[in-house]
């Protein structure tokens, strides 16, 4: 499909497409900097007339964002830890063997990946309630969300392990290493990048988790930032510059991490098929 088209024109076109696509992000930042009357200007101003940065500390204070973001951080850290601990070993074994049992296991994992959280939340809530887990709402959310992210993690980390030649591991075993030694000193270092990227993706997803937290955590001081945002968001919202300032402070760290690691995240997601 390579044509003799002028690359520069294509580059400009690509940048224009990206600008259109990423306009919602620009609009978030632009709106957050507008004053209370300017957001309702008709037609809207595409560049804030009088950027006002004081909205960020004000919203942070008013919406108790430190508590919300701390809870998001706790939940995301918990989910990521649990996912990496439980998922890595399983992905490794599933990558090393080829037999019908492994196929059944893989099939089961793929099926688990497709169950919507909105389906699982009803039985999980009732079950957690019976087990008394609802007294520890953040832990309950961590366990539930890890159950959702582990299948996704296993499928992609397994692809990373498959790219590590098993001959290297066999050589280590011949040299007198134990299985643990071979895994820790040979396989894991070689698969490090893939595992890291998937762990970061798991973290980002858990950082934005909403439905489990909304349903399980009823104490406001334990809720994550997504539930905090939903508290003043709805069909009749009017405080748009405040909402956008909140949203901006919530996603900017995620966007920064994504932009810095973009290349690795994309190749981790597509298992190296796309450079």
């Amino acid at each position: 499909m390579t044509r003799v088209a002028a690359p520069k024109i294509l580059l400009v076109l690509a940048l224009a497409l990206a600008a259109v696509y990423l306009f919602p992000l620009y609009w978030m930042y632009a709106t957050s900097l507008k004053g209370a009357s300017e957001i309702f200007a008709n037609p809207p101003t595409f560049w804030p007339r009088d950027p006002d940065f004081s909205i960020f500390p004000a919203t942070w204070e008013r919406r108790t964002m430190d508590t919300f973001l701390w809870n998001s951080l706790v939940i995301a850290t918990g989910v990521t830890t649990l996912t990496v601990l439980l998922g890595t070993g399983c992905a490794y074994v599933l990558a090393r063997y080829r037999n019908p049992w492994i196929d059944i296991g893989l099939f089961a994992i793929l099926m688990l990946q497709v169950l919507p959280a909105s389906v699982m939340i009803t039985p999980l809530y009732v079950g957690f309630n019976q087990l008394g887990l609802l007294d520890y709402p953040r832990t309950a959310v961590i366990i539930a969300a890890a159950g959702k992210s582990i299948p996704f993690y296993i499928v992609l980390v397994r692809a990373t392990f498959m790219s590590v030649p098993s001959e290297l591991e066999e050589a280590a075993l011949v040299d007198g290493n134990s299985r643990w030694g071979a895994i820790f000193f040979i396989v894991l270092p070689l698969a490090r990048n893939g595992i890291l990227v998937l762990a970061i993706l798991t973290f980002m997803q858990a950082f934005g988790e909403y439905i489990y937290s909304k349903s399980i955590i009823t104490t406001q001081s334990l809720q994550p930032a997504s539930v905090g945002l939903s508290g003043f968001l709805g069909p009749n919202s009017t405080d748009w510059n405040g909402i956008m300032a909140y949203a901006a402070m919530y996603v900017t760290p995620i966007i920064l991490v994504f932009v810095i690691l973009q290349r690795r995240i994309v190749s981790g997601l597509t298992s190296g098929a796309l450079k």
Partner: protein, 300 residues
């Protein structure tokens, strides 16, 4: 004893433990709840027997009650619009962009990668952004459409019952487009270049090359992307509470949000379980298509 111990550190036992622990965890958090969901959908569940296992058996009462709800067909219709609208939009725009970014120009893969930022953002934030963009009187989308002369008046995306489901669908297309594009790009990158060169020598034009090489070679990728689209669209929940809350008058309510409302706003967990069981059937059909079309890559 010694043999078992050494099997754990060095042999088969090691592998079994690695897989077994994780599988048990997943079974407890997905397998058991799924079965429990089926059980609950045949029970009468209320706030008083929520904590016990002995609940009155209800037979198909919950299913009959759900189907005879006045909004049942409206929710089905909305779910269909949301699912097919999202998949069509994500796939068509995603495919077009994927083909565009296969052309060779500087920074092509970097710019393509930037698109994926929509996919890593929290769903609720995406909902907030689009809720503001789609606002009726002050929304920027209406201003842009008016400026381009496409509409004269004001489109009340979120409060007009005829438009509200489309408002959420537009947001979801934006959210999932980049992921579609990325998967389709992988498929496109796997087509050997010389096929196109040979076709070009034979005098095939761009459209012919697309229909006779690209589409047939992409068949399994397209199958996987469409099935994944169905799966992810049925998983999409966050946009609904953020943009319309299913309203006005259920005109933008879909099965996944309806199920949640039954359980967590009306506290009728049995009905919530019933609606979600109906959804699971669709999800299972989609996942069979998905597993069949990815079997190749997964077993690789």
């Amino acid at each position: 004893m010694r043999r078992i111990l050494s099997s754990i550190t060095d042999g088969k036992g090691f592998d079994l433990i690695m897989v077994g622990v994780t599988m048990l965890f997943l079974f407890a958090l997905a397998g058991v709840p799924l079965v429990y969901n089926v059980v609950m959908s045949f029970q009468q569940v209320d706030m008083f027997n929520l904590n016990t296992f002995s609940r009155p058996f209800a037979g198909f009462e919950n299913y009959v009650a759900i189907v005879s709800q006045p909004e049942f067909w409206l929710v089905i219709r909305n779910t269909a619009i949301f699912v097919f609208g999202s998949i069509a939009g994500q796939f068509i725009f995603g495919f077009a962009l994927a083909i565009f970014f296969m052309l060779s120009f500087p920074f092509a893969s970097t710019i393509r990668g930037l698109f994926l930022v929509s996919w890593v953002m929290p769903g609720l934030v995406v909902g907030a952004l689009w809720g503001w963009i789609l606002a009726g009187d002050f929304g920027v989308l209406n201003a842009i459409l008016r400026g381009l002369g496409i509409i004269d008046g004001t489109m009340f995306w979120k409060s007009d019952p005829n438009l509200s489901i489309w408002a959420v669908t537009i947001a979801n297309i934006w959210l999932g487009l980049a992921f579609n594009m990325m998967l389709l790009s992988v498929g496109l990158a796997g087509i050997p270049r010389d096929l196109y060169e040979a076709a070009e020598l034979d005098g095939a034009n761009g459209w012919q090359r697309f229909t006779t090489i690209t589409l047939p070679m992409m068949r399994s990728t397209i199958g996987a992307v469409l099935a994944l689209g169905l799966i992810y669209t049925l998983q999409q929940f966050d946009l609904f509470p953020a943009i319309t809350e299913g309203g006005p008058a259920n005109s933008s309510n879909v099965a996944q949000y309806w199920a949640w409302q039954w359980s967590f706003q009306l506290f009728d967990f049995a009905k919530g379980a019933t609606v979600s069981m109906m959804m699971v059937i669709f999800v299972l059909i989609a996942s069979i298509v998905y597993v069949r079309s990815t079997r190749h890559e997964v077993r690789g």
